[in-house]
Symmetry: none
DNA sequence: GATGAATGAGACTTCATTCAT
DNA sequence: GATGAATGAAGTCTCATTCAT
């Protein structure tokens, strides 16, 4: 009795089209007309699913980030060595973020976030601060175990994510002239972090 | 030789106002009305100095980045140890970029660059690719001298700039909830890069 | 002979809902969506009974005014003293018009009539002109009988209805700050009309 | 040095055009496009003078009613016989209201007032309640002087205005089929009110 | 040069109407 | 008959750009 497959999911189509357009032109630069055309629906149809342009934008971000948040909540990595955690995370990012349009969602948060304080706050509270806290604990444990040397990282867990931000922005801006092998970049970074200092 | 000092420099005032507004609202979200008001000139006056909104935006970026490019061209750092170069660069960035509104110019390049291919190309050609090339040479020399261990960095000189990108974006998005000590962040990063591995 | 009692009368429900919404927001300001919701039917259902919004509006007015027209046609008041006629009419108005939502129908005719020439014409032809003509005859007879003094009223039978129009508009506009006792108002007016002048 | 005559007064032109359109189609039914065309300005120009459609509407009413309010404030009629006051008022109404487009402003207040509670309140507070209070005093004095008989009018000073409301609405709705001699109507009404009863 | 009132293309949004289910 | 998702014309409002002063 599968039947809903016949009904094209308008909401998903609109979200996909919106991601495309917002990624290409930013929030203010995107015309809902174009979103509608790309989604194959009429302009008015968008308003059946999203009360206005801003809600469309924010719902888009949230629906794309939801799984990420859930994944983070679910993952219990406290028993793993930090390097294993980072390698696993790195693989996930490369496969499930950089290999997909989710990359653009992250970029939208970076490029538009400051114009949507609510969104930035949500993102900070639900994603960033949790990851930072978890990372801090992992770093402390790894340092205690002698797995990694740089004690100061505990103060700047953001540094762990720096190459990811770099990669997202580079990809959008300069990959045309100088493509980036993100996987290798991340591997290189991990190697640097885990180099063992001389006593 | 007193000449234009009496006439306040309209062009500069407009550029400063434009930087403020573009930083706060992005390119598409900025109203020239607001730029004019902030600059203390009439709306039409903007068009005496810039042929349209896009030219204003691009001129703004170029005029703010010009000195940086010049500085890069002028600096002969090939004889210095890499660590000294990076510490000096780090200081400059903290003082002359993060301490000033130039920070916002960099952020604008990051957030709006992909909507202005011409600008991105200019920026890549004039700034990024040069810095990357210079950095590559510095890295090679430093590795040859045994100053630094991570040979793979030669392939990813971008990694040197990763914390800067992180800092610029973090500052705009999350500093409200979690301010960032950029100077210390960069120092920590340099320490990590220059840790000497065990043989 | 139970038949349609089980099926709630959609048409009536829609008309009732339409009266409510049109009264509150006027013709142009009313959304058929709201009419449908209030009537407890789907939006499309309205179109099964009324070919478009304008027809709905006009049918509403006609169906509410029909009984009034019929009542007027039926009433044979030619043998009654004018004062009795007016007192009876006054009672009817207070009870069957001001006490009910029919009051709003009259108001709609007054407020929207000029935008619907067809409606205004119908209303003038079927209701107003007949009442005016009948009233003229009653006035003539009353004057001939010495029941009332003001011969000039024959030329302006509209004046008889003036307090009604006043009351309908006042009720809608100002009753919040200053409610109107319509029954007493009409009684007062009748007293004024029937005061007997000194010879 | 008269010079401003050369500058066409846009604001006035827009108000005049707005009055025309609002009178013909009501608030919701009026298109600002049509107002602009009739005023001979571009659509955007309206927004230089009025922040939105509603403000345009309310400013229109207020600017047209302002003189009326001022006139009411200025008039000292307490020493005059009521009949003289009413005759004078009647003349003013016929000449300055019915003979002009101000008639339409009054009609707009009557037909749209209930959709603009703020406007209705303003109108009630500034115009209606003052006239009612003044009229009440005049009636009391006239009754005390034996100038008029109907003591109950003190309770319903609105009745004095009833023929005016009637005339405004009749004019808009039925004058095409049955024009109304407003001056004579008002004179007739005054005659009725001032008929002296038998003791 | 400088102004800012005016313009009008174009964006967002609403809602009467249709039609496949 | 009944539904309500979908449509798209049309309306309000914004803002980059122009130009007479």
């Amino acid at each position: 009795m599968v039947r809903t497959a016949a009904v094209p999911d308008r909401r998903e189509a609109i979200l996909a089209a919106a991601l495309h357009e917002f990624s290409e032109r930013g929030f203010a630069g995107t015309r809902l007309d174009d979103v509608a055309r790309r989604a194959g629906v009429a302009k008015g149809t968008i308003y059946l699913y999203f009360s206005d342009k801003e809600v469309l934008f924010q719902d888009l971000i949230r629906s794309a980030l939801g799984p990420v948040v859930a994944m983070i909540e679910a993952a219990d990595v406290s028993h793993l060595p930090l390097r294993a955690v980072m390698e696993r995370l790195s693989q996930t990012l490369v496969r499930d973020v950089f290999g997909t349009s989710r990359k653009n969602v992250i970029r939208l948060v970076l490029t538009e976030g400051s114009r949507f304080p609510k969104l930035a706050e949500f993102y900070y509270r639900e994603v960033i601060s949790r990851i930072m806290a978890a990372m801090r604990e992992l770093l402390k444990a790894a340092i205690a175990r002698g797995e990694i040397d740089h004690a100061a990282l505990v103060e700047f867990p953001q540094l762990i994510g720096a190459p990811l931000v770099l990669a997202v922005m580079w990809d959008a801006l300069f990959s045309r002239w100088s493509p980036l092998d993100v996987e290798k970049l991340l591997r290189t970074y991990i190697d640097i972090l885990f180099a063992r200092s001389r006593p």
